[in-house]
């Protein structure tokens, strides 16, 4: 067994309490994040309610292939993250590191796909403005939401990749011994970012395609 005491932070009395505490903290933070995204979901609901046809017409122009591929990538990354958390709890150092690296790579490939998709969207002038190709004005509302929702999600994913990388480095350099307490918050956050995508995917890619 490693010496786990280096993983213990002020002001916690022991690792188990620390892990629970981090859990409480991250879930409270996620409650805040949910409200952050909820504002966008409310706007989506209101505007779609007023402009159902324009939303259906506008949504047909999103890139279903990229969206679906990205959904697959993120779901897989959640799986590797879960394995990493379990492995870390069992103090399996190599498996933990491998899964963390896989998670980072999957996250980066999501961003790559997203970048290619953004490129295609911009080629088609699908950014609201003077050159916007669709005639009905409220279609711009849908695309406004598309850019803001996916953009903010991507920022969250970047933050996720950054903290996962940080944890991986801490484990790799053995600054912190491999155990679950350090992973608890990171893993929960990662799953949250994935879950947001699971809401965005139908809202942006599937609506209007039935």
């Amino acid at each position: 067994m490693n010496d786990l005491s280096r993983a213990l932070q002020e002001p916690w009395p022991d690792l188990a309490t620390q892990r629970t505490g981090v859990g409480v903290g991250i879930w409270v933070f996620l409650a805040s994040e949910i409200l952050f995204f909820s504002a966008l979901f409310v706007i989506y609901a209101v505007y779609r309610n007023f402009n159902a046809q324009a939303f259906a017409a506008a949504a047909k122009h999103t890139e279903l292939l990229y969206g679906t591929l990205n959904t697959g990538l993120l779901l897989t990354s959640s799986m590797t993250m879960t394995v990493a958390l379990r492995a870390a709890s069992a103090q399996l150092r190599r498996l933990t590191l491998a899964c963390l690296v896989l998670t980072i790579l999957l996250g980066l490939s999501f961003l790559l796909c997203k970048g290619l998709e953004y490129h295609d969207d911009l080629q088609k002038d699908l950014f609201p403005g003077a050159a916007f190709p669709l005639s009905s004005p409220p279609t711009q509302l849908f695309w406004m939401l598309y850019w803001i929702m996916t953009g903010i999600h991507a920022v969250h994913l970047c933050a996720g990749i950054a903290v996962v990388t940080a944890v991986a480095v801490l484990f790799w350099r053995q600054i912190v011994p491999v155990q679950g307490s350090t992973m608890e918050g990171v893993a929960t956050y990662w799953h949250f970012v994935d879950s947001v995508w699971l809401v965005l995917y139908p809202l942006l890619y599937l609506v209007g395609r039935s």
Binding site: P11, T17, T20, G21, S32, A39, V42, P138
Partner: protein, 559 residues
């Protein structure tokens, strides 16, 4: 872990080994993770913002002495009251009690060594300073002119000030307050001392807990709505653009979904502070402790359901107006419970009038006036009549300045001996408290009257018939300014020349009074077991004669 010993030596009574002696360099402060030092960093920063915002409104009040203005252009006038609003709301009132006293006292009151995430705590202060940087940029480059509410389409299309910098500053400050909220909630859940059950928590802790819930759940919605304003202004995205099917009123809904609970962010901690002070200076147990707790939580929850009362004239449906009006009346119930319970706490107490008590009594009166006029505004017909008048201004200043700032001052004086180890000068403090009460009423009572008669807010020029009220109000503001400057002088003076306070100068019961003044770095030499309810002063409602002068029981056995 019930009786674990913390690894450091016991402190001596002389004050050696206090948190203030853990390094005297600037770095030892700027890199600290000690909740007490972070509380002081916050206190210093919000004081700066308070006085900048105060100068801004001082100029506005000076300008308003003449019906046609004296020295400001219309644009400068708009920018000054906007600066005042933005700074006072987000850079003074929201962090005022939670981030200073909450930071300093929450761990002490529950018998913890520190908050749950000390580094996050420091990060939250840096976020706050960073946000202040945006606002400083806005100020230096000429200011914004939207008012503190950022309503589109004005803020997105027409305003010619630095709206993006202002909105970005508020956005970042929001994350600072979310970080603080997350920290406090986790701390209260996880780090209470053995025996400190939920219903043994001091009411200040309950208030900070309730306000943290509101911060965590409301602030993100504000953050998103400001982000959308920035997106529309900077990139031309049609978020609230009516020409392309967007709805500007939707912004108002999102904005007030935060900004009404924000009022409770400002008042709930104030309620916590005065609960402590009333019990201590009336030597009485808080009347109806559990009702006080439920009232705090009820205000926090119902506060989320009343935002529509800001939008009675915004084209909201009549049904919505009715519902929001009704819910606003409902939120008055727990507030009234608290006022009656404070009064009952004072009833037949052995009241003494030290400065914290004077400020708190001021709170009680001003909060009652502010709350009751809130009910006027909650009813549709009256609100439509006085909407956007000085009546509204006076109402919310009675709550946010009269009540919240009074309580803030009460708390500063009450815990000053604990924070610094020194006593402040009692006479000057009492004098400042009374001056503040008088100056405040002289400033804002005339605003009720002129608002009722139709003086609109945010107007630079006004009919001469209102001049008399404006002159009264400006004179009151000058008195108020003096009352705010006095503590700055005598409190600074007390740092060097004040008498040594001793550990418990007020003979108060809370855990924070059972450690040394100022406390050691890790608060207690050993984890204090808690064996009784808070406020074990004399029982409520007992006449003074029946007091048998038995000593009060402390809340725990800390050393």
């Amino acid at each position: 872990m019930t009786d674990m010993t913390l690894p450091f030596a016991p402190v001596e009574e002389t004050g050696h080994g206090s948190y203030l002696d853990e390094g005297h360099t600037l770095v030892s402060w700027l890199a600290t993770t000690d909740h007490k030092r972070i509380g002081i960093l916050y206190a210093l920063s919000i004081t700066v913002f308070f006085f900048i915002a105060g100068i801004a409104i001082g100029l506005v009040r000076l300008e308003l002495i003449e019906p046609n203005g004296m020295f400001l252009t219309n644009d400068a006038y708009d920018r000054l009251f906007t600066l005042h609003g933005i700074l006072m709301v987000w850079f003074f009132l929201v962090p005022s009690i939670p981030a200073t006293m909450g930071n300093f006292l929450l761990p002490l009151m529950i018998g913890a060594r520190d908050v749950a995430f000390p580094r996050l705590n420091l990060i939250s202060w840096y976020l706050f300073v960073f946000a202040g940087g945006f606002v400083a940029y806005m100020l230096i480059s000429g200011g914004a002119d939207t008012g503190w509410t950022f309503y589109p389409p004005f803020s997105t299309d027409y305003a010619n000030g630095h709206v993006i910098a202002a909105a970005a500053g508020v956005f970042v400050a929001g994350f600072s307050s979310i970080a603080t909220g997350v920290n406090f909630i986790t701390t209260t859940h996880m780090l209470r001392a053995p025996g400190m059950t939920w219903f043994r928590l001091p009411l200040f802790v309950w208030a900070i807990y309730a306000v943290s819930l509101v911060m965590v759940l409301a602030t993100p919605v504000l953050a998103m709505s400001l982000l959308l304003i920035i997106a529309e202004r900077a990139f031309g995205l049609p978020v609230f653009d009516a020409a392309r099917g967007g709805d500007p009123v939707l912004f108002q809904h999102l904005f007030w979904f935060y900004s009404h609970p924000a009022v409770y962010i400002m008042i709930l901690p104030a309620m916590g502070v005065v609960s402590e002070v009333f019990a201590c200076f009336a030597r009485r147990q808080v009347f109806g402790y559990s009702f006080m707790v439920y009232a705090l939580l009820a205000i926090a929850v119902i506060g989320f359901m009343v935002w529509g009362h800001h939008m009675f004239v915004a084209g909201q449906s009549q049904l919505a107006t009715l519902v929001f009006s009704f819910l606003t009346f409902i939120v008055a119930v727990p507030s009234a419970i608290k006022v009656f319970n404070w009064t009952a706490t004072l009833y037949q107490g052995q009241i003494s009038f030290e400065a914290p008590m004077l400020y708190s009594l001021g709170f009680l009166g001003l909060f009652t006036i502010g709350g009751l006029t809130g009910l006027y505004l909650a009813s549709g017909p009256i609100d439509i009549q006085v909407h956007d008048t000085y009546f509204v201004i006076a109402h919310f200043h009675y709550i946010m300045v009269g009540a919240s700032v009074s309580a803030f001052m009460a708390g500063i004086h009450y815990w000053w001996p604990k924070v610094t180890g020194r006593m402040y000068h009692e006479f000057w403090a009492q004098f400042a408290a009374i001056t503040m009460f008088l100056g405040f009423n002289m400033t804002f009572m005339p605003q009720f009257l002129m608002g009722w008669e139709g003086m609109m807010r945010r107007y630079h020029h006004y009919p001469p018939v209102f001049q008399i009220w404006h002159v009264f109000s400006s004179a009151g503001a000058a008195i108020l300014a003096v009352a705010y400057l006095m503590p700055l002088v005598y409190l600074s003076w007390s740092l060097k020349a004040g008498a040594r306070a001793g550990n418990n100068p007020w003979q108060a019961t809370g855990l924070e009074w059972q450690t040394t003044s100022p406390p050691p770095k890790r608060n207690f030499t050993r984890q204090p077991p808690v064996s009784s309810a808070p406020y074990m002063y004399h029982e409520t409602g007992q006449p003074r004669s029946s007091d048998d002068r038995r000593p009060i029981r402390p809340h725990g056995e800390a050393q």
